[in-house]
């Protein structure tokens, strides 16, 4: 895509700007859709209808109306807050979650930046979100916010270990950190996907990744940083209006980012499940987004089914369950590769 644009426009700055904007064209409609979708899913799981009026057809315009409302809201900053940090935090959070999209391969023809260390980059920049959350919690000058921020810092840092270890197992199989190369290594029918390779090690690796990624994006059962029944709103208690919307947007952007990584690493990325049938750049984008949305659905499904863990239980799960098992997965995959070679 980059080559095509360079030929067509012959202006490098313009091309790079365009390339950077492409994921945004997905993220914003996705967030609008996902909020509505989550409402509908939760409603139907709970014997309700959810929004039905706004926009006439099943309340499709509800989130658009919500965003319009948030834009109009007065921008309130608590007088005791650290104004500069308070204003900066939502941008840092969003920048952190949006930066991961640079290395996410949406299709065989499009990846924001063809890094040869793509997955490494994703793990690295997604940690920036923690700084933003800590900033938001600290700058709010609210004890509940601070508790939420501290919880999220502890949680995200802890869960990055099993995430990284399970990703490492995939990298050992693929032999590369390049996201497109990992995709290409899984080409062919669905049993070539890494989740079915080195069975059952990578299967458990995928499970560990998916569960840990829930913690990375603060979703139930690991949503303790913003546990509304304990911490009111967690780190975003004091935020309102557009700043709140930005935090919310980055949360959904993060949800898709971890789903996209799970799709790419374990579920064939943009590869069609039928091998060469229905493949190509456009079909690739279709498969990639559908698989990502399937994971989003799983995240929502869990959210409206499960209760929430306590903060010490969360740490227990991370350090005493997830990490030993991900070591087992890594060791098993390594042994397999060594014996097979």
């Amino acid at each position: 895509m980059k080559e095509f644009l360079l030929e067509a426009l012959s202006n490098e700055i313009l091309v790079y700007s365009l390339m950077a904007i492409v994921p945004l064209l997905w993220v914003i409609p996705f967030a609008l859709f996902a909020v509505w979708w989550e409402r509908k899913i939760s409603a139907h799981m709970q014997d309700r209808l959810g929004p039905m009026r706004t926009g006439s057809w099943h309340g499709w315009a509800q989130t658009i109306a919500d965003i319009l409302k948030l834009i109009q809201k007065e921008d309130i900053i608590a007088s005791a807050a650290d104004r500069r940090l308070f204003k900066l935090a939502p941008y840092v959070v969003f920048a952190g979650s949006y930066a991961t999209y640079a290395a996410i391969p949406f299709s065989s023809a499009y990846v924001g930046s063809e890094l040869n260390i793509g997955i490494f980059y994703i793990i690295a920049v997604s940690s920036i979100v923690v700084i933003g959350l800590l900033m938001a919690g600290w700058a709010s000058n609210n004890k509940w916010s601070l508790l939420g921020a501290m919880r999220s810092a502890a949680q995200i840092v802890s869960y990055e270990v099993p995430v990284a270890l399970s990703i490492l197992a995939v990298i050992m199989v693929a032999g590369t950190l390049d996201m497109q190369a990992i995709n290409e290594a899984q080409s062919g029918p669905f049993w070539n996907w890494f989740v079915f390779q080195k069975f059952p090690f990578l299967f458990f690796g995928a499970a560990i990744y998916i569960v840990s990624s829930l913690a990375e994006v603060n979703r139930t059962p690991f949503d303790i940083p913003e546990a509304e029944s304990e911490l009111v709103g967690g780190y975003h208690t004091e935020y309102g209006g557009m700043r709140f919307a930005l935090l919310f947007l980055s949360e959904y952007a993060n949800m898709f980012a971890v789903s996209a990584v799970a799709t790419t690493l374990f579920f064939g990325g943009w590869n069609s499940p039928l091998g060469d049938v229905l493949s190509g750049p456009w079909w690739g984008a279709f498969w990639f987004l559908s698989k990502g949305m399937a994971f989003i659905f799983v995240q929502m499904w869990l959210r409206w089914t499960l209760p929430r863990l306590r903060v010490d239980q969360l740490m227990y799960v991370a350090w005493k369950v997830m990490i030993p098992f991900s070591f087992v997965v890594m060791f098993g995959v390594g042994l397999w590769i060594m014996l097979a070679s």
Binding site: K143, R151, P221, S229, E230, L306
Partner: protein, 393 residues
């Protein structure tokens, strides 16, 4: 009096925290949980002294919803006019509040009500107990982070409220049980509707158990949390599901029967510590779930035995109660609800004092939540199931 100026300088000794009895240590901080907090079930304020996430002490502050209920009652023209006030105490189980009051007032006034009235009252009170427990269970799930069970409970509650609405026109605050009778007789299809509800609701309890009660995360969050030992529960005069959750088989419907409760066959579920220690949050929760099944048993028996009669024939037109006082206790969904009525011989009550179960149960909160985590405070408070309208009155 204004503070002396020296206060602005660094104090020689850190200030003592009232309620804690000592200054804060290093690493400790005071967090105000409530009165505007999603999990305090109303306008309760808990002053938490925390060391990180560990709660060192809890100091409850009550009274945000105080409406001078007891004082108002003294200015009513007669005993009948108090009933709308008692409705507004425990507003999620208004029938039980009325039941306790009318039983006490009838005893004071020396009124015998027809059998039909007694049976309808029992059916209504047990339906109301189911409603109250549904709200307790649903909001408890929400406190733990599970949102869906709450809406399932609300869905089932709706069926009971429909029955109430058809009987008296109101869905929340009924003014249905009057001293000496009922405001209306039940509609003609009442028995069928109540039975249909029992048939509908039994499978839903199982669904609730599958979704929430036996959920691994839910058990992790509630078992061995906020353990209230038997002797502590008795010392704090806890009652209702809190006391039974600690393994004490004490239910006024059996132990000190009033109305016609001695005619029904039902069990008293008690906490057995299946997933942890006897008296933990899970036990208190599960006692409520099991009590709902027993309520259905009582309701089915009562509907089958429902006699004919006129529900309004015993309502007094004008009475002067004898001089004297009376304390009568009934089993409300939250525990022992006692009414202490004092009559000076005039038609209006001289004193109406309520022994509120929620208030008493809430007093045990600090004793069982020291050393817990902030998330546990929410779990413990939810398992106590308070309604602030009744705590503060």
């Amino acid at each position: 009096m204004t503070e002396p100026f020296v206060h602005d300088l660094a104090p020689a000794r850190p200030p003592t925290i009232p309620g804690l009895g000592r200054p804060l240590r290093d690493h400790e901080m005071v967090i105000s949980m409530g009165p505007q907090h999603p999990s305090t079930h109303g306008v309760l304020r808990l002053e938490l002294v925390v060391d990180g996430e560990i709660v060192v002490d809890v100091i409850p502050h009550m009274g945000y919803l105080h409406r001078c209920f007891e004082k108002h009652c003294e200015h009513m023209a007669n005993y009948q006019q108090v009933i709308p006030y008692v409705d507004r105490m425990d507003y999620v189980a208004a029938m039980n509040m009325e039941f306790g009051y009318v039983v006490a007032a009838e005893k004071l006034l020396g009124i015998r009500v027809p059998e039909r009235v007694e049976y309808i009252r029992v059916i209504m009170a047990e339906l109301s107990r189911i409603v109250s427990h549904l709200i307790a269970i649903g909001t408890y799930g929400m406190d733990i982070g599970a949102f869906t069970p709450f809406l399932y409970c609300m869905r089932d509650r709706e069926h009971v409220l429909d029955i109430f609405e058809r009987a008296c026109g109101a869905r929340l605050l009924y003014n249905y049980m009057w001293v000496g009778g009922l405001s209306h007789d039940v509609p003609v299809d009442f028995a069928e509707r109540v039975k249909a509800f029992c048939r509908y609701f039994r499978p839903n309890i199982k669904e609730l158990n599958d979704l929430l009660s036996h959920n691994k995360i839910f058990i992790e969050r509630t078992a061995n949390v906020g353990v209230l030992p038997q002797e502590v529960a008795i010392n704090y005069a806890c009652s209702g599901p809190i006391l039974r959750g600690s393994g004490v088989k004490w239910d006024l419907r059996k132990n000190d029967p009033y109305s016609v409760y001695d005619r029904f066959d039902f069990d008293i579920p008690v906490g057995r510590g299946e997933h942890g220690t006897v008296g933990d949050c899970w036990d208190r929760y599960m006692v409520r779930v099991r009590e709902m099944e027993q309520c259905l048993n009582i309701i089915e028996q009562a509907v089958d035995q429902l006699p004919e009669g006129n529900v309004q024939e015993a309502i007094p037109k004008r009475v002067r109660p004898p001089k004297g006082e009376l304390y009568l206790r009934t089993e409300s969904p939250k525990g022992e609800l006692g009414y202490y009525l004092v009559s000076d011989g005039t038609p209006s009550p001289f004193r109406v004092k309520v022994k509120s179960p929620c208030f008493v149960n809430l007093s045990a909160l600090p004793a069982i939540s020291r050393g817990a985590m902030i998330a546990d405070i929410v779990a413990i408070l939810g398992s106590i199931d308070i309604v602030l309208g009744e705590v503060d009155r």
